[in-house]
Amino acid sequence: MNNQYRNLNQQNAVHAKNKRPLPYGRTYHSDDVSRFAVTIGKPIEEVFNFWRNFQNLSFFMKDLKEVEVLSPTLTRWVMELKNGVKATWDAEVTAERKNEMISWKSLPGSEVETDGSVWFSPAPQGKGCVVSLVMNYSAPGGKVTEFITKLTGEDGDTLMQVNLRRLKAFLETGEIPTTEGQPNGREVIPELKH
């Protein structure tokens, strides 16, 4: 995210979180920089409850090591990348309506600055729950984003898309698809080598 956008975001952060995911046929306000949506084939209550128990977020968010719940509205986030680089920040819930939306903002002076809202709305044709995420994030000095990009080849936005897919898979199937740990011909087994 470049500086020009970051300033825009800060100006819009307040009204961004008051914006509902709009009724069908309308889109989000165009100044929300990072927007993602996924449809999950589960009841809204179940998806909302899963998300609202913030410690659950580390189940499906890549590289998010832990979310510690300090109080009903205060959480501490610990992100650890594969190379051991860590980032920690505190965030507070700034608005919440049960089974509808949650907004958050990192506390002033955090290593990672983030704010945003997640909305839960019914999907058409009984397809379950639409999760819409509108967020801004930045890390002074670019620490986190830089490392994410370097390590995973994924920018932050891509990572959030991946994370929402993982959330969907986890809630719908009870597991997150993986191939980590499967065999391949790249690791040669010395004693069997022929």
């Binding site: 084939g41 898979a169 199937t173 997150i176 740990g181 065999p183 011909g185 069997l192």
Partner: protein, 390 residues
């Protein structure tokens, strides 16, 4: 265990690799008894599919015996003899519940790649590049099967592997290709290619009520195999103008539906075909849609073009004006294998179809690299290779 690994363009090798283990609760581990080589594997062999990595284990037409199940597996039991569909589907998402299994939302851990390339990602596939999930395939002694209850069909005892193995891919694929033609009694169906997929499609088109099936290829032995089922055949090397020939054979109307069972590596000696090869080589176009072009050109007004042949990227000089001008319908995609496995097994058990006729070569797993070479370079005699593993 031993496994057939992709090592680069035109190079596959048997390697010793670690045995697969349960990685997720709904996984099962299967001891492979038979595994086939598919025309789709040739697209990997020829280097046409992006996101392959050296050392990837290939194979997506697999069957065997369940030797271990994860705690989340409800129906499948150790000892069950199963056929494994080539697409990996979660069984729970919206698309799976609609029986659009190859459109599964959840099985592909690398979905983001296809999301960006295609707008959406389909199901993961066994042994078919990292964009399609990067799952290890079944041309190996053992295979890990995710969402094992959905991705298996239990086979009753007493029926040999060769009769049911192709429920994993080519029989459902040929069946779906015919179903997609929306065949009405008395219809004529033209099929490009006389490979294994086409052989199944020929039989399924007749099952679905086609009166005539016309098959095009340039390998006589393959055409003969299609003729055995009652198809008329055209060797395209001996035919100057395929559209005209098909028109003549169908009273000037054109075939009611056309099946492209060739895909992205169509051969051809026409000018566009040689241009395609050059363009593919320099990356300007990725696929060579010669068969597809002809299918569109030949199809009757209001007819259907059914495309089981695989395409991966960008197509050049597709006669879209002809498609529009004739009001054609297009149906295509990876097969929803899980949807067709049980009804087709019933047909096999009832003696209505026996897909084992297509097998020309049986090899040991160790000889799989030779199998690839033959299937790729000696297409006339080598029509379908089955690897016997355990």
């Amino acid at each position: 265990m031993k496994a057939l690994c992709w090592e680069g363009k035109y190079s596959v090798e048997i390697r010793n690799v670690p045995d697969p283990t349960i990685l997720n609760p709904q996984d099962a581990i299967v001891k492979v008894t038979s595994a086939a080589i598919c025309g789709s594997d040739l697209h990997l062999y020829d280097g046409y599919i992006p996101t392959m990595e050296k050392g990837d284990i290939l194979g997506h037409e697999t069957m065997g015996e369940v030797v271990e199940v994860g705690v989340g597996v409800k129906k499948l039991k150790v000892g069950d003899r199963i056929v494994i569909p080539f697409d990996i589907s979660c069984g729970k998402c919206h698309h799976c519940r609609e029986e659009e299994y190859s459109g599964c939302d959840n099985s592909n851990p690398n979905a983001i790649m296809a999301d960006k390339l295609y707008g959406q990602s389909g199901a993961a596939l066994f042994g078919y590049s990292h964009m399609y999930g990067g799952y290890a395939g079944g041309q190996a002694e053992y295979i890990r099967v995710p969402y094992a209850d959905t991705n298996s069909l239990v086979i009753p005892k007493g029926i040999e592997d060769d009769k049911v193995l192709f429920l994993s891919d080519i029989l459902p694929t040929g069946y779906m290709a015919a179903e997609n033609c929306n065949i009405k009694r008395g219809d004529t169906v033209a099929i490009w290619g006389a490979g294994p997929v086409s052989q199944m499609a020929v039989r399924c088109a007749f099952l679905k009520g086609a009166e005539r099936v016309i098959v095009l290829d340039h390998y006589e032995a393959r055409l003969r195999m299609a003729a055995l089922a009652g198809a008329e055949t055209i060797n395209f090397d001996e035919c100057d103008d395929i559209t005209e020939e098909l028109k003549f054979l169908t009273g000037g109307r054109g075939p009611d539906s056309c099946i492209d069972a060739v895909g992205m590596e169509a051969h051809g000696h026409t000018l566009p075909a040689s241009l395609d090869r050059v363009k593919a080589a320099v990356g300007l176009a990725t696929d060579r849609p010669n068969a597809l072009r002809q299918a569109i050109q030949a199809c009757k007004k209001g007819g259907t073009v059914s495309i089981p042949g695989v395409y991966g990227g960008f197509l050049d000089k597709v006669p879209f004006g002809a498609a529009f001008g004739k009001g054609l319908t297009f149906k295509m995609g990876q097969t929803h294998t899980q949807k067709y496995m049980q009804p087709l097994l019933d047909l096999i058990l009832a003696g209505k179809i026996d897909p084992s006729f297509v097998i020309t070569h049986k090899l040991n797993l160790e000889d799989a690299p030779k199998g690839y070479r033959m299937f790729s370079d000696e297409k006339n005699d080598c029509i379908k290779v089955v690897l016997k593993v355990h």
